[in-house]
C-alpha cells in the first residue's frame, strides 16, 4: 500500500467515526467538532485517492484548500448562531434534543 492510499483509508475511518458522533451527540459544539473531523476525513479521501502513488495532484489540493475555507466559514457561522441561541435559551442543544 502506498502512503496516499493509506491516508485515504484513514479518511474513511475518520469519516465514519465522526459521522456516528455527528448523529448521536446533542451538544451542538460537539456536533461541530464532528463536522470538522468528517470534513478532514473527506479531504484525506479526496487527495489520497486522487494521487494514489502517482505523485502530487494540484487540483484536489486546491479543492481542499477551498474546502477548508468553506468549513471554517460554516463553523464560525454555526458558533455565532449557537452563542446567540444560548443567550436566548440557555441551552446548547436543539429543543428536541433536550432531555
Amino acid at each position: 500500500m502506498n502512503a496516499d492510499r493509506l491516508y485515504a483509508y484513514v479518511g474513511v475511518v475518520l469519516f465514519a467515526m465522526a459521522m456516528y458522533a455527528f448523529l448521536t451527540h446533542t451538544h451542538l459544539l460537539r456536533r461541530l467538532l464532528a463536522f470538522n473531523v468528517m470534513g478532514g476525513g473527506t479531504f484525506l479521501i479526496l487527495v489520497g485517492l486522487a494521487q494514489d502513488g502517482r505523485g502530487p495532484d494540484p487540483v484536489p489540493q486546491a479543492l481542499v484548500l477551498t474546502g477548508i475555507v468553506v468549513a471554517v466559514s460554516a463553523t464560525a457561522l454555526a458558533i455565532i448562531l449557537l452563542r446567540r441561541w444560548f443567550a436566548l435559551s440557555r441551552s446548547t442543544a436543539l429543543p428536541e434534543d433536550q432531555s
Binding site: A18, L29, T75
Partner: protein
C-alpha cells in the same frame, strides 16, 4: 537500492503510525468526557492533519490546516466553550455535557 527500499519502509511505517494516531486523536476529540478536552484534542488533531498533508506532498494544505483548521477553528471553539461555560445557569446540564454528550 537497498537503502532506498529501507527508506520507503521507514517512511511507510511512519505513515502507519501517524494514521493510527490521527484516528485515536479524532476518537478522543469526538468522544472525550469533557468538551474542553475534546477541543484541545481537536487542535492536536488539526496539527497532525497538517503533518499528514506534508506526507501527502501538499505543503499548501499543511500551512492552511495548521493556520485555519487547528488555529482559527480551535480558537473559535475554545472561545465558545468559555462563553457557554461561564454564563451558564444550569451547569450540570448544559456546558459540560458529560451526561448527554458522550456515549
Amino acid at each position: 537500492m537497498d537503502g532506498e527500499a529501507n527508506g520507503m519502509t521507514i517512511s511507510l511505517a511512519f505513515d502507519w503510525v501517524l494514521g493510527v494516531v490521527l484516528v485515536a486523536t479524532a476518537a478522543g476529540a469526538l468522544f472525550s468526557k469533557t468538551l474542553f478536552r475534546g477541543v484541545v484534542l481537536f487542535v492536536v488533531f488539526g496539527l497532525l492533519m497538517a503533518l499528514a498533508w506534508v506526507r501527502l506532498q501538499a505543503p499548501d494544505l499543511a500551512l492552511a490546516e495548521a493556520a485555519i483548521g487547528a488555529g482559527l477553528t480551535g480558537a473559535l471553539l475554545l472561545d465558545a466553550i468559555g462563553h457557554l461555560k461561564s454564563r451558564s445557569v444550569t451547569p450540570s446540564h448544559n456546558d459540560d455535557d458529560a451526561v448527554k454528550g458522550s456515549t
